[in-house]
């Protein structure tokens, strides 16, 4: 099973883990990125490091890795400028980016690695709100692949000095693991087709709830989506109404599994059309 939660350290991720880090200090990020790469190597993974910098500079960021040149030569480690890594998305829509990572992961497996691990500082790709919208949708698509068993793990890093809190929250809330953010609720993939909703949702999260469910349900398609809620501590009725509106928009029925005890009764009182409360 994948890990989920708010971490006090960005280390120790498994083969399917997906971590978001909104960092303040670039030097601290580089130090942890190097450790993240080293962890991947110990786990037999091929590792990709990508950020908005020329290749030489990216190599320099990893200079603490033993035998770096050899590993780069063997393509055990790859470094790529961010615009090359995400070229597929730029040209054909971000839906293709998840597929590109899946192909790269299978290539790593075919080459004898245990999987693929990526560390990406994608800040420059999400500065514009329209780009960010598409990128969050991509983040969820790749999260579904990881939750579905793809041996791909990722550290997604975003620079708080260039993004406001709302942008960080939008990005962080679709990740199962969060470090360096105090995001109040998260919606991430659970298996290949379900969702896991956790945290606390108050009235003023109404718009954010609508946004994240619009983005995640757009990847689901019509039908029933199971939403595990065992770590959901509270949801205000406006959050439920927002979920319901998104579900109706996407022709989805949301089955909330093990939500807080009041949710079922509130959903009944509000006569929601597309949200059901279930006990496991």
């Amino acid at each position: 099973m994948r890990s989920s939660g708010v971490l006090d350290s960005p280390r120790g991720l498994g083969h399917h883990d997906h971590l978001c880090w909104g960092f303040d200090d670039h030097a601290a990020f580089l130090a942890e990125a190097e450790r993240f790469v080293a962890d991947g190597l110990r786990m037999g993974q091929r590792v990709l490091y990508t950020a908005a910098a020329p290749v030489d500079e990216l190599r320099h960021h990893l200079s603490g890795i033993a035998d770096l040149d050899h590993l780069l030569h063997r393509r055990t480690i790859e470094v790529l400028p961010i615009n090359q890594t995400y070229a597929a998305g730029r040209h054909r829509g971000r839906a293709d980016q998840a597929e590109a990572y899946a192909v790269a992961t299978h290539a790593a497996l075919a080459a004898g690695y245990s999987g693929l691990r990526a560390v990406a500082d994608a800040t420059v790709l999400v500065l514009d709100p329209a780009d960010r919208d598409e990128f969050v949708r991509y983040e969820h698509r790749i999260d579904r692949r990881m939750a579905g068993g793809l041996p791909f793990s990722a550290l997604c890093a975003y620079d708080r000095n260039r993004l406001d809190q709302r942008a960080i929250d939008e990005l962080a809330c679709v990740h199962p693991l969060v470090y360096g953010s105090d995001v109040t609720f998260r919606v991430h993939a659970e298996g290949p087709a379900g969702l896991h909703l956790s945290g606390e949702i108050d009235a003023w999260h109404e718009d954010a709830v609508r946004l994240v469910f619009d983005r995640t349900l757009s990847a689901a398609g019509p039908g029933t989506v199971m939403v595990r809620c065992d770590l959901l501590r509270f949801v205000h009725h406006r959050g439920l109404v927002a979920m319901d509106a998104a579900a109706l928009e996407h022709h989805v029925e949301l089955h909330l599994v093990d939500p807080p005890p009041t949710v079922g009764r509130v959903a009944e009182i509000l006569a929601l059309g597309a949200v059901r409360s279930l006990s496991s």
Binding site: T184, E200, D202, A203, F234, H236, H237, R238, V241, P260, P261, T262, R265, V266, I269, L270
Partner: protein, 315 residues
């Protein structure tokens, strides 16, 4: 300050009657003919009476009474919010199905405790504004052998029509609206366990959990935290700072007061009026009414004060 209420054009067939009787047999004798006529014409009838009252009515009316929708009075009148939801939904469905007159006979559960019975006095007043636009013929039946005179005197004032032994049916000459100030909440004689300025709803939930976990059953605690969240959210969104929360942890109930310094809640029966939807919904206060045992909404000294209480289960 008297708060404004949405204007209501009464339906010509709307009637809200208090019928005072001297036991099930007397009740049955006085309403059987009227109800039998309604049932014979296929008009929808909702009955929330005690088992002896039902038996007496059935003796007089016969099997035709089985056409009525029946809900035990104890279940129907668990709290004013759910009682109103049941009645409103019955009327709505009946009217949608083409009924021109809808009947409800209910035995409101008076306890003989002035503070607690005030919730039913408030409910009875709310029926006049919440359902006046419908063709409801509501008959609220009070057993004078079991209800305190003080309560019956108050009940008289909040019905448009009275039906009393010896006097028969007549319009109420002293109909007056419910007065929030008349409720003497007992909790105010002691210091609250929580008295805080609210900055985040989540902090309020944490305070209540810390205060009550272990002493209030989990389900009731979750209900209370939902009620508190709705009240403070309402104060923060529609009122003015500072928003204050006070909570009293009493032997038989937990009482919340949420105070803000805004203009007040326009509808003093917001917890008893089913929301009409729309951008702002109005669901928050309606949910408060569905989960809390007693609610009052007031505004004085430039402060809006909403009180909600949750009883502890009988031990």
């Amino acid at each position: 300050m008297i708060l404004a209420e949405p204007p209501v054009a009464p339906h010509p067939r709307f009637d809200h009657r208090a019928l005072f009787h001297q036991g099930p047999g007397d009740l049955a004798e006085r309403v059987a003919s009227e109800l039998a006529g309604a049932l014979a014409q296929g008009e929808p009838v909702h009955l929330s009476v005690t088992a002896p009252e039902w038996e007496a009515l059935r003796d007089h009316i016969g099997p035709a009474l089985d056409q009525a929708t029946r809900l035990d009075a104890g279940d129907r009148y668990a709290n004013p919010g759910t009682a109103m939801a049941e009645l409103h939904e019955f009327v709505r469905r009946s009217v949608e199905s083409g009924a021109e007159t809808v009947w409800s006979v209910g035995a409101v559960q008076i306890e003989g405790d002035p503070q607690r019975d005030a919730r039913w006095v408030r409910y009875e007043t709310a029926v006049d504004t919440v359902l006046a636009h419908t063709p409801l013929r509501g008959i609220c039946v009070y057993d004078t052998t079991r209800s305190p005179d003080q309560v019956l005197d108050t009940v008289r004032s909040c019905h448009t029509t009275l039906d009393e032994p010896g006097l028969g049916r007549h319009p109420c000459a002293h109909h007056r609206p419910y007065d929030h100030a008349r409720v003497r909440w007992r909790h105010r004689t002691t210091a609250p366990s929580i008295d805080t300025v609210v900055t985040e709803a989540g902090v309020v939930r944490d305070h209540l959990r810390d205060l009550l976990a272990g002493s209030l059953p989990t389900e009731r605690l979750n209900d209370l935290r939902l009620v508190a969240t709705e009240l403070v959210t309402n104060g923060m969104r529609h009122g003015a700072d500072p928003v204050l929360l006070r909570a009293w942890d009493l032997a038989d109930e937990v009482v919340l007061e949420v105070i803000d310094h805004g203009p007040g809640i326009a509808d003093r029966f917001a917890d008893l009026r089913p929301p009409s939807g729309g951008v702002d919904g109005g669901f928050g206060m309606w949910l408060v009414g569905q989960f809390a045992d007693q609610v009052s909404i007031g505004h004085d000294d430039d402060r809006t004060v909403v009180v909600a209480s949750m009883r502890r289960p009988a031990r």
